[in-house]
Amino acid sequence: MTSASRVVATALLALAGAAGAEEIKPGSAFLSPQMQRQQEDEARNPGWLWVEQGEELFSRRDGVAPTCASCHADPKRSLRGAAARYPQVDAAGGKLINLEGRIEQCRVERQKQPAFGYESQELLGLTAYVASLSQGVPLSVSTEGAAKPYYEAGKSFYERRQGQLNLACTQCHDGLVGQKLRGDTISYGIGTGFPAYRLEWNGLGSLHRRLRACSLGVRATQFDYGSDEYLALELYLAVRARGLPVEAPGLRR
């Protein structure tokens, strides 16, 4: 290679790198075309099995408690876009909650029923159902007012080196996007497809389950499901994904 062509090649690489850094793509953009088609096909994406379960639970009556549908009549219209606004700060409690948290809160406080528990099949089903009602709606979370400290916490979590491997989220999910990590392609770390059906799990899982897998991967502390750390990170990831459409239930490797 002549030195002139090397300069051109370097310039091209720099250009490609700059373009990649500006435009954030959802996780599905890193799937094979076959898997992308499978995600979009409701007959073949197994995530819809959980959506069906959620839809059933939504109008199921437990004892004397009102059903979800008693308040949220016509959910296809009334709840469209709801998932795109989570996580958000709960007006009553003043704390950040995500969609799973809101559904559990409704169940415990309004329906007076025992909580399903994070990552239970029932909660995953309901979350997937409610999220699926927002398919295609661009993410529009708020970082104003009470949400601001959570956003800052999430941002610093994302940028902080951690674990025995001493890696920050940003080093892979900004710096090495498109490259291979074992058999998979590194994505921007966007959670628009969650709860998602992961082939590795043989089932549906929440974003927090995915984050726990990432924490384990860098040999860092795994936080609990629904912990403040992951909630703040979820908010930061949602801000990164602002304008990208909700894809849940997604299909991931």
């Binding site: 073949r44 197994p46 819809w48 099995l49 069906e52 379960q53 089903g125 043989n202």
Partner: protein, 108 residues
């Protein structure tokens, strides 16, 4: 295990003689067994081992499944539309349990 759930996707209507595609996705862990549980016993295999589909009084499709089949298996097949009626889907699980679903095909 969560309740058995099947998603059967096919056209609701077809002309006589048409080839219709039927797509079937079911929720099942397809546990291949062999693990040792907390009491030291070997967990038995528990998978759906057969799907049969009966249409117009005749078996039109049979799928024998083994431990290599993934959880929540998907299968698609085609059949010829002959008369208006129900397609009867029956899954057989290890241990003898069966699950059935029907889907109606209107032939014009």
């Amino acid at each position: 295990m969560a309740s058995f759930n099947a998603r059967i996707t096919m056209p609701a209507e077809a002309k006589a003689g048409d080839i219709v595609e039927i797509r079937v996705l079911v929720r099942h862990p397809m546990d291949r067994g062999g693990q040792v549980d907390a009491e030291g016993r070997v967990v038995p295999r528990k998978i759906l081992n057969r799907l049969t589909v009966i249409y117009a009084g005749e078996p039109v499709f049979r799928y024998d499944m083994h431990t290599g089949v993934s959880a929540n298996p998907f299968v698609s097949f085609t059949t010829r539309a002959v008369e208006t009626g129900d397609l009867l889907f029956e899954w057989r699980e290890d241990g003898g349990a069966t699950f059935t679903r029907t889907a109606r095909l209107v032939v014009t």
